[in-house]
């Protein structure tokens, strides 16, 4: 089977978020990383390939973005993806991103397409679902486990208060979350060396429409501050929660 992992290029999650004129995210001093969920998806794909070389033919990573995301794609190659693709498009609308990915996938035949549950910057949680609908193939969301067992793809989906085990018919999109892999795989020295010779194909964007338009950013209003209650006076806390905050 061939596995495609969709990776987004996002600011490190500890970044202090600032904007220029409410319109532009201030990238000064920002470290860029593989979106954490996508990194775990890639880790899982590599784990499967390492455990059963015969069932995984190739792992490709793909990003829709501008040239500045290439260091992130290189990192994915250093972790262990076999090759990379970048579609040269300034990703601003989720539908447009999903459309770019779908146009590429239509021409290739990947059995398993992995997306993260959400991008840590835009918090959309939409690209995986849209992609599968454009392609007209099944999607399983909230996936916390994925494996290939005797040629069949077995996934586990988290549901309210429990878990389902599902046999997925390929091709399909797995939208992965917590549990899919434990810790992200770190690139080895050898991985970094070999990544330089791996193929990173750059494709022109496909013409597309957009459904939504960004207007401006806002920062949250500062909190009123924390009201401290003396540790000797716990009763007062419960009293305030009841009468002032009215939450109990």
């Amino acid at each position: 089977m061939k596995i495609l992992v969709c990776i987004n290029n996002v600011p490190d999650t500890t970044t202090k978020v600032k904007f220029i004129d409410k319109k532009v995210f201030d990238t000064a001093g920002v470290q860029w990383i593989i979106n954490p969920w996508d990194e775990l998806a890639l880790t899982r794909a590599i784990e499967i390939k390492e455990a059963q070389a015969a069932s995984v033919e190739k792992i490709t990573v793909i990003n829709v973005g501008l040239a500045d995301s290439e260091s992130t794609i290189r990192k994915a190659l250093a972790i262990g993806a076999d090759d990379g693709v970048r579609i040269n498009y300034d990703a601003k609308d989720s539908y447009a991103v999903a459309f770019q990915l779908a146009e590429y996938i239509k021409k290739e035949n990947y059995e398993i397409i992995m997306c993260g549950t959400e991008s840590s910057d835009y918090n959309g949680a939409v690209v995986g679902g849209m992609l599968s609908e454009i392609l007209g193939i099944p999607s399983v969301s909230s996936v916390s486990f994925l494996d290939i067992v005797e040629g069949k793809v077995i996934v586990k989906r988290e549901i309210d208060g429990g878990q389902e085990t599902i046999e997925a018919h390929t091709p399909f999109v797995a939208i992965v979350q917590k549990g899919i892999a434990n810790e992200p795989k770190i690139p080895s020295m050898r991985g970094i060396m070999t990544s330089r010779s791996k193929q990173l194909q750059v494709l022109e964007a496909f013409p597309t429409e957009v459904f939504t338009e960004f207007v401006e950013y806002e920062l949250p209003k500062p909190k009123a501050g924390c009201k401290k209650i003396d540790a000797e006076n716990v009763k007062e806390l419960i009293h305030l929660l009841h009468t002032e905050a009215k939450v109990i």
């Binding site: 840590s120 389902e164 997925a168 459904f211 950013y217 905050a245």
Partner: protein, 322 residues
């Protein structure tokens, strides 16, 4: 024209967030000058369905098909698309939870309808149609406009609240034309029922590494039980198997937005806050006055959680007259 709100039940009872969604959708319907229709998929009794009209639905459409007992993303999308077409919907509202995330993006493509997820405001303007969404894991917000004729929104829990607006109860049982949409095959289900769902809980009592070990969770559970609350924990707590991973909240765990979040022995790392900062009211108990959790908290006690928790329990008992 109409606004459709997709409501969700758990074991035949609507989740609290469903009522919040109906309240929110009513507001959207008013702004769009149209009526609100609530859609329920699943086996829900009539007196439970009736509750949806208390928050402003002028019609409740109930789809009760055995084929739809498991959430199949494609099949659910087809059913909702069919109802949207039949009711000439110009807006469809979901919750920004697992189900909303599974269906709304597919429906967006199917209906060529712009989607904004993790919405925290009612429409700011309707021409153009603009709402505010959470971005950067609640560290900021963004205003987005939808350019397509049909709009789809998914609402963050606790972003709007409950507003009663009783309408007469009109029920329609509906059988969708289901084809061979079921594309995934569930071969095994493990599920607990009856427990409070963490993602739907109004109050959450949560413990971190400051609780020292799983043997000390008795007081967290007792306080939770008294308050009718769910229980949660920080990531190291579930990593060390003191609690199950179901309870882990934060950037890599569940994202919750209860009315009240009580953090016991939790330092308040940025990744933890990412999962809880939308809570209405945050209470922190930590022995370190410099702990970052106090910056996110509304009320705080600097002290030993082992001493403070039992006193909270007796104070709540006293308040409730137990």
């Amino acid at each position: 024209m109409s606004v459709i709100v997709y409501t969700e039940n758990w074991d035949g009872k609507f989740k609290k967030l469903s009522f919040e969604l109906v309240s929110y959708a009513k507001d959207v319907a008013k702004k769009l000058n149209t009526s609100l229709i609530a859609l329920s998929i699943g086996n829900v009794a009539e007196d439970e369905l009736k509750k949806l009209s208390n928050y402003g639905a002028v019609k409740v459409i109930s789809v009760n098909e055995n084929k739809l007992k498991d959430l199949d993303n494609q099949a659910y999308t087809s059913v909702i698309a069919e109802v949207a077409a039949k009711e000439n919907a110009n807006a469809i509202i979901f919750a920004h939870n697992n189900t909303g995330k599974a269906i709304a993006p597919r429906l967006s493509v199917r209906l060529k309808a712009g989607l904004v997820t993790a919405v925290v405001s009612s429409p700011i303007t309707t021409e153009p149609f603009m709402v505010t969404k959470k971005v950067f894991t609640s560290k900021a917000f963004a205003n987005i406009t939808i350019k397509t004729p049909i709009k789809i929104l998914s609402l963050m829990q606790n972003a709007f609240g409950l507003i009663e607006a009783a309408e007469a109860f009109v029920l329609e049982q509906y059988s969708p034309a289901l084809g061979d949409e079921m594309k995934t095959e569930v071969i095994d289900v493990k599920k607990v029922s009856g427990k409070i769902l963490l993602t739907d809980a109004d109050i959450v009592v949560s413990g971190g590494r400051g609780m020292k070990g799983p043997e000390n969770w008795g007081s967290i559970e007792e306080l939770a039980q008294l308050l009718g609350a769910g229980t949660a924990c920080s990531r190291p707590v579930s990593d060390e198997h003191w609690r199950t991973h179901e309870e882990h909240v934060g950037q890599t765990g569940k994202v919750i937005a209860p009315t009240l979040y009580i953090a016991c022995g939790i330092s308040g790392a940025i990744q933890h806050l990412g999962g809880i900062s939308s809570s209405k009211c945050i209470v922190a108990i930590n022995k370190d006055p410099e702990a970052p959790i106090f910056e996110a908290a509304d009320y705080g006690i600097v002290g030993d959680v082992m001493k403070v928790l039992p006193e909270m329990i007796s104070a709540v008992k006293e308040l409730k007259g137990i």
